[in-house]
Every structure is written in C-alpha cells, then in structure tokens.
C-alpha cells in the first residue's frame, strides 16, 4: 500500500531580492524592503514529502536515515547559515522562496533515489509558505 511520508527540517539563511534585469527603481518597487543591499535572513522550515509502497519487511516507505542523510549532505550543508545570493544556484536567479523551492526539488529529484519525490514545501516565515510538486502535477 502506498503511503506519503513528510519530514521537516530547519535552516537559516540570508538573501537579497534583486534582479539585474530591472532598474533600481523597478527593483525597489518590486521587492520593497527585501531589496536592501545588505540582505536579511530567515529561519526556513523545509518539508520534504516522498511516497511509495510500504515495504513489507521494514514497514517503511524509505529509511529515514537515508532521507535525513541526503538532505543533510545535499541541502542543509549547502544552504544553512549561508547567504543564498552568493551560492552558485542563484547566480542567474533571484533567491526568492519560489526559486529556493524549485532548486531544492531539483536536487532531491536528481539525487534521492530511495522513494518517489512528491513535494517540497518551504515556510519562509510563519505567515508564508511555498509548495512545488514538479511540472504538470497537482497538489493533493
């Protein structure tokens, strides 16, 4: 039987929302306080949802040790306590939480092979959150 497992992780990072394709005035209008050149930070909450048949011998969709290890190595070590704008992932894109969501989804989709990736959800603050389920999929 198919189950969906969600694991929640925390990381902290800073960013500045600024597009080189826009004028200074446009950047200010579009991003407001988030355009502050010195940047600002958030405590992000990341939720990763994977799914698959529950293995009869282990009772698991996938071993949490594998999921935690992958996320620790490939996502938290990359982004925790970093300035997102200085990361290679955001050389060409603005580190909005939308782009962070799709970037993390792509890292998991490429590298995590133990279960099907359903969804990446990120809370930037307690007031806003973002979800990505890949292209052509609908959030359940």
């Amino acid at each position: 039987m198919k189950a969906h497992l969600t694991r929640r992780y925390m990381f902290s990072a800073s960013h500045r929302l600024h597009s080189d394709d826009m004028s200074e005035a446009e950047n200010t209008v579009t991003y407001g306080k988030c355009n502050n050149p010195y940047g600002h930070g958030h405590n992000y909450a990341l939720e990763v949802t994977v799914s698959g048949p529950v293995d009869e011998s282990t009772g698991m969709v996938c071993n949490l040790v594998d999921l935690d290890g992958f996320v620790q190595r490939e996502i938290l070590q990359r982004f925790d306590l970093e300035n997102l704008n200085t990361r290679e992932e955001f050389v060409r894109t603005v580190p909005t939480t939308e782009n962070l969501c799709t970037t993390i989804y792509d890292i998991l989709q490429r590298g995590f092979t133990y279960a099907h990736l359903d969804k990446v959800r990120i809370e930037e603050t307690m007031m806003n959150s973002f979800e990505y389920v890949g292209e052509n999929c609908v959030i359940q």
Partner: protein, 136 residues
C-alpha cells in the same frame, strides 16, 4: 465537496523488529528503534473526511459521531498502549508510522457512513508525519 479534519492525540510506545532479519540486520536497518524495551511518542492524528454539505444541518459530518468513532476505534485501542504487544495489527507488522496510518485508515473506513474518509495523517513527532489516502 467540503473537507473536514478532526485532530486527536494519543501516546504509545513501540519498537521496530523483523523476526525474519538477523540481529545485525535489525540493528543496521532500525538502529535505536530496535530496542526491544520500546520507546514512546506523543502521536497526533488528523482524520480528514469529505462530502457534500447537508442542506438541513449544514454539516459534512456530525462531529459528535466522528469523535465517538475515533475514540472507540482508535484512541481506546492505542492510547497508552505498547503497540507491538497490545494492538493486534502489529503482532505481524512493524508499527512504523506508515503502518500505523494504514491501520487507522482500515479501522475507520468501514465505520463512516455519510462522509467519506479522505486522508489519515499521523504525526510521530512534529517533524515527521505520514499521510495515507487508501491507495493500493
């Protein structure tokens, strides 16, 4: 169609062990969860039902009935229990959060009449939960 979610909490202990595995395999796969004396969690259960809103009552489901079913079928059987030893489903299955969500679904699905069971979500801790939608 409207979806309604009811939350409940229960505390239980469990351990992970497959008698078909060697002691080394059990230890490697399940780690600290393999301790035969068990360990416990405060589980949070969310049961979501769906249905059309009854034009007379304005309800998708009578919450009092849903609460009664939840108590009778799930909480009375699992709250303050050692899942491996006291809940029949887990005499032959490992009481992982995945299997717990499936067992709770199976206990509830036939007991609901008007509203339809949509999802069972079981939080083992605030940072780990499993959803089961009745998928084969």
């Amino acid at each position: 169609m409207v979806y309604l979610t009811r939350k409940a909490e229960f505390a239980a202990s469990h351990y992970y062990h497959n008698p078909d595995f060697t002691a080394e395999e059990n230890q490697r796969i399940f780690g600290k969860c393999n301790n035969p004396n068990g360990h416990g969690h405060n589980y949070t259960l969310e049961v979501t039902v769906k249905g059309e809103v009854d034009p007379r009552s304005g309800f998708v489901v009578d919450l009092r009935q849903l609460k009664e079913i939840l108590h009778r079928e799930v909480l009375d059987a699992m709250d303050h229990r050692f899942l491996n030893k006291e809940v029949p489903e887990f005499s032959a299955q490992i009481p992982t959060t995945e299997n717990l969500a499936i067992a709770i679904w199976q206990r509830l699905v036939s007991k609901l009449n008007k509203a339809q069971l949509h999802r069972v979500r079981v939080y083992e801790t605030p940072d780990l939960f499993v959803d089961f939608y009745g998928e084969a």
